[in-house]
Each structure stands twice: as structure tokens, then as C-alpha cells.
Symmetry: D2
């Protein structure tokens, strides 16, 4: 009963269907790293998928992996070696120091490769990415991360907003790629977390009208709540019928469309393109359609600005909260599709948003 | 005294200081033209300038010219010849018909030249432009215009909003050129009509924080009202001091800056660059600065979408209204810098916004 | 008998398989039009297709139509009404006058619609387009065309080069859309006229290495002649095998790829996308792939600059020449796929290139 | 006379006018670094400037500094610690190994800051930059550099071409920023090394006609040799007169203009903007003018592709060669403005290009 041992409760997936709360050692931050006390971590569809299937495509859980990648926390320690790794000349860790509240960008570069140099670091093949095998995530009490990818949160941005920057980033990246601009009429297919952040970002970029479709009335009412101009519940319509209904609502064909559904539906989905994905190219005739983006880059500073200035409001996305100890219950809730974003609270002393 | 003669009261500048309300004949719309019953026309700084000085740069009032170019009205007649002028084959005027409420884009192309072909028709040298010598404007009861440059207003957009699309377009064009995007920190110098529409558009495009400077406290309180995050009243500060105050307010250097002041001030101005304009290039180091745009193009459809969807609110810009008969009083008000946008109401039977 | 009647020999398609040389009246140029004595007109795959099948997709030959849209000639008369059609105020036809040698852009705008205003006039639905039903082409002795879409040729650019600007424009548009830039490694699939102009333009834009594939060894040797760094003759390889061979040749995956084959092959083709075109999206992972462009816009002035400065050489594309009187023989040659570009010489007094 | 001691002859500036050849120790490559045997190093105007004045603007030679930043060499050793500095997990130095011939990008990032993340690493304030105080350059026998910024040269690219990638990069960056594209008419002011690489790159990007101006007839004849369509020797003409002559040569106003002269001339220059630089903005009316770029980024891989494929030829730029031992004579030659690019040969066993 060595109760005094510092402990690090962590949510670990061991294989398909095998999810465990375990006690890990508290890691030691290395050069250019910070140790964080985790506060809020959202559950993503991919976390649930690793738990259910033990893999996503070629990414296979071969050894136990901590889940979680939508996260925020507080810096408790900075790496012992704070010199520049390249030249041992310049101190680096001026940006965050113990006590700082930070949002975590889960993808952290390991090398300055060609993708990094052109500003598309999300494509770097050697990137570290939380909760993508074999890299551990941050559904735990204490977690260390590359200091360059921890972003200080202003006082008026909550930890949960900080954690929501990760899905928000997918929406930012998709809308940037779709080239959303002032006065646009936009079609978002799917009202899950990703569809909703896409909607929120599209409105923030000046879209005049956004129509959101989904199978679920509950999700669509949430879409209304966070700003959809029109929602359209679909069931068995053909793509052509949906297209025609969307056109009726907007008064014209949408200028941009973003698919945020799961694969295998009537429409092509974001992020899971198979080798020969069938894209309804014909719809692209009069606008910009985006169906495939891979994560994001350069979104955290932008998202923090937007949250700090209240240009966007992502708080309504959180529908459930559980303490880390109840992670399995939380995952069960998420798996059942109840609510929208389930938030895990990792700090036993502060369970606030 | 043939009182029955249809009359067309028009505000005509004859030379410096010589502004008259005169009765013009009602024009006959030609091929591809529409005749409009004018409703609301805003007074622009350039209208006042033509009245005061009889010229702006090389544009000289050599013969009497009707003023006004921020305008909206109702179609009362379409041109007799509605065939395509190029091939006499296709009917053209399907877009607007008698009874339609329209906003007028004052620049109307006369030929399909190289600028038109690349989508920058505002640069076409032979363009017709309302109230730019020698072209007549639309501060009158009845006015005819190229039908391609009259845009139908939805029911929920007022005539005054329609008229305000012209200054709004300057703001849209400037913000597009400045590349404003999500989360940007923006500096707008000058809180006149153009500064304010720039602010409104920047916020609509996702700017996180906009700081607006002006000499006048009244104008800055209007800036606050329409969405400025910060305002800064200046008097005799050096550019360096202003730059440092702006940086303090934003917490960093602005990522984009737009000058909307009159020439000859401490900073460079929009639209009136002299041969060797001195631009504070050094400020450009970490961002995008835009100090010279020439009018606009492709803004009306976008602006109408934004107004219809209530993404922007330009109504607070209107501070004064006068019936057309009191145009001289209206111009005097504008000249004195009282209020912000003075609106002339040209339809004696409908003086509503 | 009445030999004095001025005549206008024209190549007319009446329906599938029904191609006739007929005598048409010489047209009279209307407002903003010029009458041209035709000189050189290239045969395009679409001309052959209309002759063979009487249609391309929804474009159906319902009444006799003159073929030909890759053309150049000499201005012999300008329209009687040379005032601006919109305002009857400005003379328009200053740009070309009798005696001018011009290249013809086959798509001529009929109205200043939304597509025209944004500089993408090729998308204008009411556009006139030579030899696309129901619009007549210019495989004839005399032809009238919108003066804004006739571009003066410098003395050092031949009529045939002028005619080749049309296919060259497809290459320019595709390369611009693919974003070809300095040092790029490019893959062009198909070595027909379109594949070859794409290759030529890609090299002119700074591509370091272009690999071209085709089934035909003859076409590939022409590709070598006009600048291909590598050619690859394919027969029954799978897309994966081709991709791997291309990668071997370039030393890396291509950064841009352009498909210029006919539909129904192993790869997707330019210009004929069906409703649910299958695109090998996975290849797009590390670059820009372009498989669907519709015609072109703003290419003639650019192409003329390039030809005049000898930055590109399209002359080797012409493999056969026939006088207009032998048009049926010429079409037969083209149909059999002998050679590459078959040129018809419409001026009996000047059959030079 | 310990002749056996390995020595590292280096060209060191101690202050204004004080340039010495000294024997430095051979450095030891650290983590993520490579040791290089230097081969060819070009003399840049800035090297001469540091020697003559001991400073450029705020960059002051406060302690002895090795000159040289246009360089290539051979890898002789890789850093002892080849693990990823961020995570101590992945081997990094797979890209270059002993024996590799490499070109050196003189600016090497020290941290993954915001500029790096957006792909504009040249703006990173903590960047290491060869021969910019206090960082040593590579005019020496042995030099160590960040391995991520050493680029392998193909066999058919010489060491001197490798060294010339540095000035070539300035031209690439300027042309990219100026948006040079197919068929452009370009004006380059100044026929020094930077003006000439700009010309070479502009042609490679598809410029139809480039006119180059300079005061010196010799330099202009070199401009002709490397591809200028027109050259214009100027002496006392006003900017207006020059503009008019340029327009006559091109047949129209240039679409892009790039200034590559020294400051204080009749026109504004690249790279040395003072606080309130006077830019002839009016010239910008019909095109893109670029007068201020800071170094470059993402140019080496592109330049190597272009050199390997013979798309550009920079060899004629080299007019003089000296062995490292004669560095002072070489600098004197460069200072006098004799020739164009003076190359120092640092490997006593291989003085070939
Ligand atoms: N690109 C990336 O980096 C990235 C990141 C996160 C998520 N994603 C992907 O984005 C997609 C959406 O993520 P999510 O978390 O919102 O998923 P989710 O499953 O919670 O939501 C998807 C929604 O789409 C709805 N839907 C299904 N078929 C539909 C149809 N035919 N029409 C309209 N709506 C339909 C569902 O009812 C559901 O509400 C997933 O495919 C996910 O893999 C991509
Ligand atoms: N580009 C175009 O097509 C276009 C169109 C319309 C107006 N303009 C130009 O835009 C500018 C602004 O137009 P407006 O109608 O808003 O003019 P305005 O005169 O009503 O407003 C200018 C404001 O700038 C303020 N100001 C002056 N000096 C200042 C300084 N140093 N710092 C901060 N504020 C200062 C003034 O107090 C005033 O409130 C004018 O120069 C006008 O010519 C350009
Ligand atoms: N977008 C437009 O506006 C536009 C304009 C003109 C032509 N096009 C289209 O461009 C395409 C090419 O035109 P073209 O005139 O060069 O046609 P073409 O038939 O003369 O040439 C096509 C070439 O592709 C080769 N080919 C066929 N299958 C192949 C494969 N699997 N791999 C490699 N090569 C293969 C053929 O051998 C042939 O040489 C056509 O589909 C045409 O409809 C589009
Ligand atoms: N942006 C960067 O990162 C960067 C890098 C290297 C050089 N530069 C700058 O580029 C400029 C050119 O560099 P360089 O090495 O070619 O210099 P250089 O001195 O060798 O060449 C400048 C040329 O301009 C000519 N010239 C001077 N006044 C002229 C005028 N009024 N009109 C026409 N020609 C005139 C001179 O005769 C000379 O041949 C310098 O200002 C340098 O500082 C910038
Ligand atoms: Zn996720
Ligand atoms: Zn105005
Ligand atoms: Zn064709
Ligand atoms: Zn240099």
C-alpha cells in the first residue's frame, strides 16, 4: 500500500475490445519537452475505433497504447536541457513555463524535413501523433509533449475549449482548403463533431448560408443551435434528390461542399479514402468541393485567437463529462452515439470546464 | 405651365461650389439597359469633393454632371432591344424586370476588354462610372443603367442597405486584397465610412481582433458600436508611438493593416496615391498591409448574400436622411463631417429606409 | 454558270457520317464583329466525333453545322456599327482592322454574366462556341466573329501557329490549374495533340522533368521531339505498375499529373467526366493532379507572347496539310489517327504555313 | 612546425578593412550536423561589404567572423548523435552520408517556431545564417552545418553550380513573389549577379520577354548571353524616360518588374529598404512589382531539379576563379566590380568547377 508513490492513471487500449485503466509512471520531460498535468481530453471517433477494432487501416495497435488526442493541461515541469538541440546555443523554452495552461497539438514534428520546410508539417511521415500507433496519447494524469506544440491559453479560454481546438482544427483546415469566403453558400454533409466545427468555422469565415444534412434529428437540432442556416434530415433520398433539396434551400447550387460523414454512406467521406474512391465529381462543376483532408497544420494560434475574441463558440459541442476514473463509461456513451462530444476530466482536483 | 410633364429632379454640379437641383428629362433605356425609379442614394466624400473643388485629380467637371453613386432603386422599364448586342441572337434581360428592387453597381463595362476577361473589370479604362466626369450619377428621380450591373435585392434587404453596398464593396475589396483570414489581428486607420465598412468586413471574414484609430471620439464610438474590439483616439503621436500602442492593444503586431484616412495625414491613404507615394514599408515586415485599392469588382452578389443572411449589419452607418429636394442641406451636413453616412431619399412616395 | 457570285466553300456536318462541302453565302459582320478570310484551320478530335457520331454528349447536331474551331485568318471587313453596344458612345473596333492577321478564340461571350465578371468566361452558359451545336465553326472561306475574340498576330507568328493556339490553350489551362512550377516533375498520360501541348507548356513553365506515356510508339517519338524528358510506352500494365515505372524514371513520385487520354482507358480522361468518374485519388497524396478542365480562358494573349518570343515551338505538331477542297480526305486521315495535327488550308491563294 | 596537425585555412574578417587568412581548428559535428570538406564558395556583395565596412545595417562584426555563404562541399563525417533531438527515438541522418556532394543552404533553423511552421522559415529570428554576424560562414577548408540544410547534388551538377544555388535562390524567391508566369513581359533593373539570376529564372518560368537595364555595357552583354531579350544601357535618364524606353522595347508596360540594384540609385532596390522607402507605386498600376524580398525559402530542391535537368544554365555567371590561398586577391577583384561572380576553390586537391 505504498500510497505515497506518485501515480499516473492512464487509459490504455491493449487490442480490439480491450480497454483498461492502468497506473503508468510519470514521464520525465526530455530536451525541448514539457511535462503536463492533464485537464480535459475529448473522446474522438478514432479513439472509439481503436478500442473496438484495434486498428484504423494500416495503423494497428500492436502494443498497449494510451488513448486521447483532443487535450489541454497545465505545464508542471520543463525539460532539463533547454538549449537548442541543433546548435546548443540558444535557450528555447521561453514560451511556456510551469503554471501555464496550454492546448496540445497532438502532431509534433520529429525532424525538419521537406514537408516541415514548406509549412505542411502534417504530412511529415515521421511525425509523432498522440494515440496513433505506436505513439501514446494523453488520456492520463501526466503527459509529456514537445514544447513547440503546446500553446498557451489566455485566461478567458477554458481548458475544454482548449481541448476542442483539435476537432476545430479539422474544420479550419477543411474550410481553408475549400476556400470558403464572404457570402458563400455552403453544404456540409454530416452533423457529427466534425460537421459541426466545419459549420462553425464556415460561418466565422463569412459564409452567408450553410445547410447541414444528417440522418439524426438530434444532431441537426444541435447544428441549428450552433448556427446552421438550414438543416435537412435525410433518410433514403438519392444523391440527386438531396442535391435538389439543398439547391432549393439555398436558392442556388452551393459554392462549396464539405463531406463529414462516415465511410460507406451514400456520399464520400472525409479522411478515409480508399484506393479508388468514387467522388461525385459532377457536383464540382460550379464550385469547390472538398472530400479529403489529412489532419491540419497551423491552426492552434488561429483557433486560440478566435476563442479568445469570442468569434466562435464551441462550448455547446460538449454534451457529456466524466472523471478519468469513469473513462470506460464515457467511452461506452461515445460509442452509442449519445450526445456529441464526451469530455474526460483528468485532474481530480479540478473538474470544471 | 404644363404641370403634367413627367419630371426628373436631379442634383447637378456645374463647377467648384456650384451645386443645383434641376429638372432633367426622364431618360429612355437603350439596349441592355433598365430605367430605374431611384430610392436611396448615399453621399460619398467624392461627391462633396466634386462640389467643393470641381475635380478629383485628373477627373474634372467640364460640363454639368449629376452626382451620386451609392444607390438603389426600382426597375420601371427595360430597354426596347432585349437581344444580345453581340450576336442579336439571345434575349438578355431575363434577370431584372419592372418592379424589381435593385442595387446599382456604379461601374458598368462598356467593352469586353482584357481587364474584363481576367475578371478585374474595375480596371477597364473605358468603364462608365456614375458621377465620375463625364458620366452622370444617380442622385435624381429616374436613372437608366446597364442591366448587367443592377442586382436584385431580396425582400429582407432594404433600399438603404442596397445603397450601402457601394461603400461596403470598398471594404470587401480591401479586406480581400489584405488577405484577412480567421483569427487575424487587424489594424484599421480611420473611422470614416470606409474605415467602418472595412472593420465590419474584417470581422465577418473571421478577424479575431480589430483596432481602429481616428482623431474623432464620435467616430470611434461608432466604430465600437459596429464591432471594433479596440479603438484608439490619436492626436499628435508619431507613427512609431501609434504602432506601439496598437501592438499593446493587440498583444502583438497586427497581421494586416488597412489605411482609410484622407491624404496628407500622418499615414498614407487609400485611393489617392500620388506619383511617389511614401509607404511605411517597414511596417509590412510581419504581415500584409494594403494602402492602395482601386474601387472593387465582383462584390455585389457577395454583399447581397451577406446582407440577406444578416452576416453583416451596415444599418448603423446611416446617421442622417434628407428628401432629394433638400439635397443641398444634406451635402452641407456631409461636408461638415456631422454624422457618418448621409442618405438622400429620391422617391417622394417612399422615404423609408 | 453565274461564276461571278462570291462564294464561301464550307465544310458542313449534317448528321452521323454525313459530311459535305457546300457553298454558303458570305456572312455580313454585325456590330462589334469582323469578317475574316480564313487561312488555316486544324482538325480536332471533336470535329471528327461530330462527323462520326453526330453528337458529343448532350451536344447534338440537329441542323447542318459548319465544323472547325482551331483557326486563324485575315480581317477583310469590320462591322458597320462600331459604337459600343452598351452605350452607343465609344468606338470599339480600334483593335483590329482590315488586313490584320488574327487568331480566333472560338468561345465568344454573348453577355456579361457572373462568369464573365469573375474572369472565368469559359463557364458562361450562353457562350457562342465554334462548331459546338448549334453554333457554326470556321472551316470555310469566309467567317464572321466577335471582334473582341480575334487577336492580332505579330509578323513572326504564322497562321498555323495562330490556329494551334486553340489546342495550346487547353495545355496552358491544364498546366495553370495543375499549378506547374519551377523544377516540377510532371506526368502526362497520353501523347495526342493535347498531351503534347501540355508537355510543351509544362516545360515552358519550368518543369524540370516530364514523363509522357502512350500506347503508340510513333506518338511517343513525337513527344521526345517536342521536349519530353522521358517517354514510356505502355500496353497492359496495371495503374500500379505504371505508377511505379513513372516513379523510377523521375526518381520520385511526380508532383503533378495530367491525364490527356480518351475516356474508357485505364485512366481517367480530360474533359469527358461521366457522372461518377472514378479518380485514382490515392495518387494525389503527394502532389497536384488534374483530370478535368473545361476549355480555357485568357490564354490567347499569353500564347501569342510565347509564340512571338519563341518560348514554345508548336510547329512540329502539324503532320499533314490539305486544301479546303480536300477536307474529306483530311478528315479521313485524322480519323485513322495517322499523324498528329491535320491542317486545312482555306485560302486558295495562300497555302503556306 | 607540427606539420601533422590537421589544419583549416579560413578567411576571417576582423573589422572594417581587416581581412585575414587564418588557421582554425577543424570543427566537430554535433547532433544532426555534418562536417564538410568545402569545395567552391562564391563571393557575394555582402562579403565584400563586411570586409569594407565591418557591418551591414544592424549586423555588426563584433568578433572575428569567417566569411562566405554561397557554398558546396563533400560530407566527410556525420554527427555522433544521430537520434532525433526531440524524442531520442528516430535516426535522422539518413539523407546525407560521407562522400555525398552537397550544396549548403546558409540559413539553418534553430527552432521550430511559428515561421517555420508556416513554411516561411527564412523569417525565423533565431535562424543561423552563414557569414551574418555573429555566425561564421564557410570560406574555409572544413565546415560543419545542420544536416537538414545540406542538399545532395546529382552527379551531373557541378560544385560551382551547387554554390550558385544561393544567388539563384534569391532570383527564384523574387520571381515567385512577383508571380511571373507564361508569356509575361518582365523588367529587371540591374544586371549584377542578382539581376542575372532573376532574368534566368524569369525566362525559365515562361516569361516571353525580359528587358534588363544597367549602367554597365559589359554587364548588359552578359545579360544578353544568359537570355535577356532586350538590354538597355542607362546613364542619366529620369525614371519616366526609362519607363517609356522599356515600354517601347516590350510593346507594352511590363507586367512584372524586379529591382536588383544597389540602394541610392534612381530606383528602389532589393533588400535594403530603409524605414520609409520611397517606392514608385504608380508604376505598379498595371502589374506586379517586387522590390523587397528577404532571402528565400524552399528553393534548394527546386534549384537542384532545374540544374540537373538543364532547365537553367548558371555557369556563365562565373567569371573568375581563385584558390582559397589567394582569397584576398579574389576579394579585391570582386570589390573592383571586375567580372561578375568570383569563385573561391577551397579544396587544394580539386580546383575543378
Ligand atoms: N481529416 C481528418 O483529419 C479527420 C479528423 C477527424 C475526423 N475525420 C473524419 O470525419 C468524419 C466525421 O467525423 P465525426 O467525428 O463528426 O463523425 P460522426 O460519426 O460522429 O458523425 C458523422 C455524422 O454523419 C451522419 N451521416 C452518415 N451518413 C450520412 C449521410 N449520407 N448524409 C448525411 N449525414 C450522414 C451521421 O448520422 C453522423 O451524425 C469521419 O469520417 C472521420 O473519420 C477526419
Ligand atoms: N479605393 C477606393 O475605391 C475608395 C473608395 C472610397 C473612398 N476611398 C478613400 O478612402 C478614404 C476614406 O474614405 P472615407 O469616406 O471614410 O473618408 P472620411 O474623411 O469620412 O474618413 C476619414 C477618417 O480618417 C480620420 N483620420 C484622418 N487622419 C487620421 C490619422 N492620421 N489617423 C487616424 N485617423 C485619421 C478622420 O478623422 C476621418 O474620420 C479616403 O481617402 C477616400 O478617398 C477610396
Ligand atoms: N478540356 C478541354 O477543353 C479539351 C479540349 C480538347 C481535348 N480534350 C480532351 O483531351 C483528350 C486528349 O485529346 P487528344 O486530341 O490529344 O486525343 P487523342 O485521341 O488524339 O490522343 C489521346 C492519346 O492517348 C493515348 N492513350 C489512350 N489510352 C492511354 C493510356 N491508358 N495511357 C496512355 N496513353 C493512352 C492514345 O494512344 C492517344 O495517343 C481527349 O479526351 C479530349 O476529349 C479536352
Ligand atoms: N533579398 C536578398 O536576400 C538579397 C540577396 C542578395 C542580394 N540582394 C540585393 O540585391 C541587389 C543586387 O545584388 P547584386 O549582387 O546583383 O549587386 P551588384 O552591385 O553586383 O549589381 C547591381 C547592378 O545594378 C546596376 N545599377 C545601379 N544603378 C542602376 C540603375 N539606376 N539602373 C539600372 N542598373 C543599375 C549596377 O551597375 C550593377 O551592375 C543588392 O542591393 C543586394 O543587396 C538581396
Ligand atoms: Zn480526432
Ligand atoms: Zn464613393
Ligand atoms: Zn478542339
Ligand atoms: Zn549573398
Amino acid at each position: 500500500m505504498a500510497a505515497a508513490k506518485p501515480e499516473n492513471l492512464s487509459l490504455v487500449v491493449h487490442g480490439p475490445g480491450d480497454l483498461r485503466l492502468e497506473n503508468y509512471p510519470i514521464p520525465e520531460p526530455g530536451p525541448n519537452e514539457v511535462l503536463l498535468r492533464m485537464h480535459s481530453v475529448g473522446i474522438c471517433g478514432s479513439d472509439v475505433h481503436y478500442w473496438q477494432h484495434g486498428r484504423i487501416g494500416d495503423f494497428i495497435v500492436k502494443k498497449p497504447m494510451v488513448l486521447g488526442h483532443e487535450a489541454s493541461g497545465t505545464v508542471v515541469k520543463v525539460g532539463s536541457w533547454s538549449m537548442c538541440p541543433f546548435t546548443a546555443a540558444l535557450p528555447l523554452l521561453t514560451f511556456s513555463s510551469p503554471g501555464d495552461r496550454v492546448a496540445i497539438e497532438p502532431g509534433a514534428l520529429r525532424e525538419m524535413d521537406e514537408f516541415c520546410k514548406i509549412g505542411r508539417y502534417n504530412l511529415s511521415p515521421s511525425i509523432f501523433f498522440c494515440a496513433t500507433p505506436p505513439d501514446d496519447g494523453n488520456l492520463c494524469r501526466f503527459y509529456k509533449h514537445n514544447a513547440d506544440f503546446c500553446y498557451k491559453l489566455p485566461d478567458n479560454v477554458t481548458f475544454e475549449e482548449g481541448a476542442l481546438i483539435e476537432p476545430l482544427s479539422v474544420g479550419i483546415h477543411a474550410c481553408r482548403r475549400a476556400g470558403i469566403t464572404l457570402g458563400n453558400k455552403v453544404f456540409v454533409c454530416g452533423a457529427g463533431p466534425i460537421g459541426l466545427v466545419t459549420l462553425i468555422v464556415a460561418k466565422a469565415m463569412g459564409a452567408a448560408q450553410v445547410v447541414v444534412t444528417d440522418l439524426s434529428a438530434t444532431r441537426l437540432s444541435k447544428a441549428k443551435e450552433v448556427g446552421a442556416d438550414f438543416v435537412l434530415q435525410i433518410s433514403k433520398e438519392s444523391p440527386k434528390e438531396i442535391a435538389s433539396k439543398v439547391e432549393d434551400l439555398l436558392g442556388c447550387k452551393p459554392e462549396a461542399g464539405i463531406y463529414a460523414t462516415r465511410a460507406g454512406g451514400t456520399l464520400v467521406l472525409v479522411g478515409l479514402g480508399s484506393e479508388m474512391t468514387t467522388v461525385p465529381l459532377v457536383h464540382a462543376a460550379t464550385g469547390r468541393w472538398i472530400s479529403r483532408v489529412f489532419r491540419y497544420c497551423n491552426t492552434w494560434p488561429m483557433a486560440i485567437s478566435m476563442l479568445a475574441s469570442k468569434s466562435v463558440n464551441v462550448k455547446p459541442l460538449v454534451t457529456h463529462r466524466f472523471p478519468l476514473e469513469k473513462a470506460l463509461e464515457a467511452f461506452e456513451t461515445s460509442r452509442k452515439g449519445l450526445g456529441l462530444k464526451v469530455m474526460l476530466k483528468c485532474d481530480p482536483n479540478d473538474q470544471n470546464p
